[in-house]
Symmetry: C2
Subunit: 314 residues, 2 copies
């Protein structure tokens, strides 16, 4: 379930644009007004606002936001306002530009989106960067990281629910053998995780647990960065809410708040499953996610995060 709230009666697009323009042009920027509008419009509405804003004022709304806002608040509003495919393309590009510790962002985009959403993100990547996502990922990685990441970002998995139980059994056996031998980057492990449908991988892991009485995620708890990526792959594919709870807990609880991760998760999930993620978070940490975020963030950034969580007064 999404956490985004859209008012029952939405003002006209023209009115939203006028208000945003007023928020930028007044004496000082009116952040509260910006949050009350953009923090409560869905993707289709935001797209229309961008279009009409450009037609009315001859200016790019994203550039205006960039100019008028600052720091974490700016990043959050811009990333949120982007069309979801464009946003994924942007986040993936940023990840390929950074050090290996950003590789898990690529895994996140490749595994937690629907197969079709990933294809649309790749299409947006072409349009924006005149390159393919997979060529940038392949170019910036080597060895076992490349071996895992390139097929993950290139995948166009079957999206249906049909499951082949005989195959699940056979592939659970392969996975169990390889993981028990710590052959984490074995061809077969990567083939199974990078090409099978999410439903099929789920069936395989269920059989894994039943037959071998071991939890593959537990087996992948200790290890190097590559093992962490494998773990993120499996969680992202089969237990996306748990995956996002883990990222949020890391971002909020550990040595200062990691704003980039907080921003990315809230902006990409608010319209998808953020309500479910927040419920899981509370179950895991015994504190509502909104309160945890309010404790660790401030000002307009905090207000926008809470708006996207559906926890402001608007």
């Amino acid at each position: 379930m999404a956490s985004l709230t859209v008012p029952a009666e939405v003002p006209s697009v023209a009115e939203d644009c006028e208000q945003l323009r007023a928020a930028f042009k007044g004496w000082g920027t009116n952040e509260k007004l910006i949050i009350s509008i953009l923090g409560h419009r869905n993707a289709a509405q935001r797209k229309l606002i961008q279009q009409i804003y450009a037609e009315t004022f001859g200016e790019d709304l994203l550039k205006e936001l960039d100019r008028e806002l600052t720091n974490d608040f700016e990043k959050l509003v811009v990333v949120w306002t982007l069309d979801p495919s464009e946003r994924d393309a942007y986040l993936a590009k940023e990840a390929t530009k950074r050090w290996t510790k950003s590789n898990f962002v690529l895994v996140e985009i490749a595994c937690t989106r629907s197969p079709k959403e990933l294809v649309l993100a790749r299409e947006a990547y072409h349009a924006r960067y005149k390159k393919s996502l997979e060529e940038d990922v392949a170019y910036h990685t080597t060895g076992e990281h490349r071996k895992l990441l390139v097929p993950l970002v290139s995948s166009y998995r079957y999206g249906g629910d049909e499951v082949d139980l005989r195959l699940a059994k056979a592939e659970a056996k392969i996975l169990h053998e390889k993981i028990s031998d710590k052959a984490y980057s074995d061809d077969e492990v990567i083939r199974i995780l990078a090409t099978r449908s999410k439903a099929q991988i789920n069936a395989t892991l269920n059989h894994y647990k039943d037959e071998y009485e071991e939890d593959i995620l537990k087996q992948l708890e200790e290890g190097d960065e590559f093992v962490g990526l494998l773990r993120a792959t499996i969680k992202g594919l089969v237990y996306p809410e748990h995956y996002f709870v883990e990222v949020l807990r890391d971002a909020i609880n550990r040595r200062g708040t990691e704003e980039d991760h907080l921003t990315r998760v809230i902006a990409t999930r608010a319209e998808v499953d953020m309500k479910t993620i927040a419920d899981e978070y509370q179950k895991r940490d015994s504190i509502p996610l909104g309160r945890a975020i309010a404790k660790d963030t401030r000002g307009d950034y905090e207000n926008m995060l809470l708006a996207l969580l559906g926890q402001d007064e608007d």
Copy 2:
């Protein structure tokens, strides 16, 4: 340039359907009539004919063709009548079911189609087979074959013309080193061929020829089946017409005609670039392609091939 010819005044779809129905239902099947209709309609027209046929007679046109026609003629008419994405999905599935000598059909589909067409073929594969193309390819291959074929069929290359000449130079150097060392399945060789845009690979190979005074295709002439796949990859990406001429020459000239390959090339290219391919063929073999085909095939199969080449009287 396409070779397909569509009459200036096309009968109504309803009329085409009536005529096809008559061709099936008379005393014996009227193959000439079927060729005169289906052999002269473009993809959009054939799609509409299939739809209206099903609505009018409550029967699937493809199943009727399957029932009424036989052998190579049947295969050609059915494969031709399919929507291009469905056809690619079907041809790819057939290739994954066969022995390794069909691997080059996968290379052909992955490399000679536009990036977007390949994505549409993968989408059609999902709908038709409830699986992804890459999972079937990965499952049926091993070792260096898998290492090349999976990224090729999973690619969604950038389709624009922009070229990075500095990169072309650097990657020509890598390719030249690896190919000269006969390290054909090296990670870097596969990365470059499987992820870069066609325009970029073309620039890289131009630099290769200029700087090293060697032709990579010549270097790949002698070798095992894998080297042949690499060669097909490069030809399919950068010189598709030459690639298809080579397949046609093999199919027509060598020890009896290989009808499957002849059928596939004519059916998939008639609406795309078959006229150009036929011109190249004549340049290479000093005999018009239509005459070479007429010499080696017979009856309705021959007539349908010539119709798709634009060389019948209709």
